[in-house]
Subunit: 315 residues, 2 copies
């Protein structure tokens, strides 16, 4: 890819499709978003990607743009730029999305797993700057991740390393979205957190969470916990504990210098930090206990900025 | 390190201290072993290491030897050549073993975690030859491991990546040797396997395992299973299942091209292979299910040969 000063980062989510024009220093110069045509099939979605890329690059000379990076849900084959399967996007089975988009735009396109893209963003421009080893975990509907080890982004076979959400932490435990049982995601994702909160609220006599189960979401639980609601406090402590179990696993497996938590659930990081630390102290061997666990610095933009960083050859 | 054609590999175990003279092509030219003076303290053990190294190098010109590689139990700091703590070796707390041995021998010395050293041996000269990604798991008294990803040995902070035995697979489960509960090691190590066999045999009316609990070891269980003993068969199936849970985790986390099983329990690999495969099919996402799980090719020597390979700059 060229030495051009700008890159386009695209974040293909099941709900939103976001785009940003990013500089080599990680600055977001311009951004846009549209609702993903998630049920319209690959061709329509590739069309949307091309459209937002053109929109974001309007008024910029093509020679200024080094290329396009796409952050997308996995499993995908980053090496060959193909989405293998995307449960949240209809018809996405073995779609050569990088090649399709490159044809439409006349720009080089790279594809990366959303977890890895976000890890790259945090590594280059966020909480992991200047470190050689980091584990990034995004906790939202599901749990994804990306890992930097010995100064390089881990990719592995077909670029599929870092599917941290699908490690079993509870033998024969709750069923996960992937079909397996007992995955970390089945216990510590935002979905699992909200499900527990709704279940528990129906039995509770006196809680700020209210009685309308459908209205209970992660934010409401964190807010209620901050205001001293006992049930909410219990739920947050439990969530922190589940997160801590998986984080301790990551410490032993990857030996990072830092663990970075992103995704929607990171909004409650302050409430959970102590509980996470307590579980890590309990579950990690002494040599791993002093590794900091922090909140992502780039917030929502880790993946977008990381996707652009890929284009600059930063990972 | 020099271009000399030979290296000395040392394998520092809690029971045995083994040494080998290894060629650049991974051939073991000469080997020896002594009982480790495990309770005599670091100075005595360093003395033993120097002695076996000298013995193995007798009659070889110093210029022919590129250096010494030590494979030792973790956690250790491979970058600085220090053993941080070795539960099986008395007094081993923050011992700069590489420097101490280098002083005595006048040769460059490198230290590596036994799991990583064995992974390196299997990568360069064993079951993982020519692959870019592998996860090596040694299953014996405990469970250790080492990982190659994107053509490089994973080290991480302080060289401590790949402590695969201490990931939690059963929330608040059995207590592990590390103090945590529910670790993979607490369920799938040879120690756990033998403990289950002894417990179960006392209740069994009719089993080839016999009634002398102390005499029951892993080998006896595998043999009885091969001869159709129902209890032994059940124990082996259970062990294979526990191994499979952890292996499925490693697939998601590292995305290897192959998973290699070494250590004493690999002697029963043939008996367990089908059960491991069944669990992996169940617990791994489809994109990870076709990764082969095989037995280590270098057997007992993976670590010794890997330690020597390190000296040649092979990892």
């Amino acid at each position: 890819m060229t030495g051009a000063p700008l890159a386009i980062g695209l974040d293909l989510g099941g709900t939103q499709l976001r785009a940003a024009l990013v500089s080599r220093s990680g600055e977001v110069l311009k951004r846009t978003a549209v609702a993903t045509a998630a049920s319209a099939g690959p061709e329509a979605v590739v069309g949307q990607l091309a459209e937002v890329a053109r929109e974001i690059a309007e008024g910029v000379a093509l020679a200024e743009i080094a290329g396009v990076g796409i952050s997308a849900p996995g499993p995908l084959d980053a090496v060959n730029g193909r989405i293998i399967w995307a449960p949240t996007l209809a018809g996405f089975r073995d779609v050569p999305i990088a090649a399709l988009l490159a044809q439409r735009l006349g720009l080089p396109v790279r594809l990366e797993n959303d977890g890895i893209a976000a890890a790259l963003g945090e590594w280059r421009f966020g909480a992991g700057r200047a470190l050689s080893n980091l584990a990034y975990v995004t906790v939202s509907t599901g749990i994804g991740g990306g890992v930097v080890c010995d100064g390089r982004v881990l990719r592995g076979r077909r670029g599929m390393a870092g599917h941290v959400g699908h490690m079993t932490i509870v033998e024969d435990g709750d069923i996960c979205s992937c079909g397996n049982s007992g995955c970390w995601e089945a216990y510590a994702s935002g979905t699992a957190f909200t499900r527990r909160a709704r279940l528990r609220a129906t039995d509770a006599a006196d809680t700020l969470l209210g009685e309308d189960m459908e209205a209970i979401d992660a934010r409401r639980v964190f807010e209620a916990a901050a205001r001293g609601d006992p049930l909410a406090g219990e739920l947050v402590a439990e969530e922190a504990d589940y997160l801590g179990i998986g984080i301790a696993n990551l410490l032993h497996l990857y030996s990072p210098d830092i663990v970075i938590i992103g995704g929607g659930m990171a909004n409650g990081f302050g409430e959970m930090q102590e509980g996470i630390a307590r579980r890590v102290q309990r579950s990690a061997m002494p040599a791993f206990r002093d590794v900091p666990v922090v909140r992502a610095e780039l917030g929502d933009n880790s993946g977008l900025i990381g996707a652009a960083a890929m284009v600059f050859g930063e990972g």
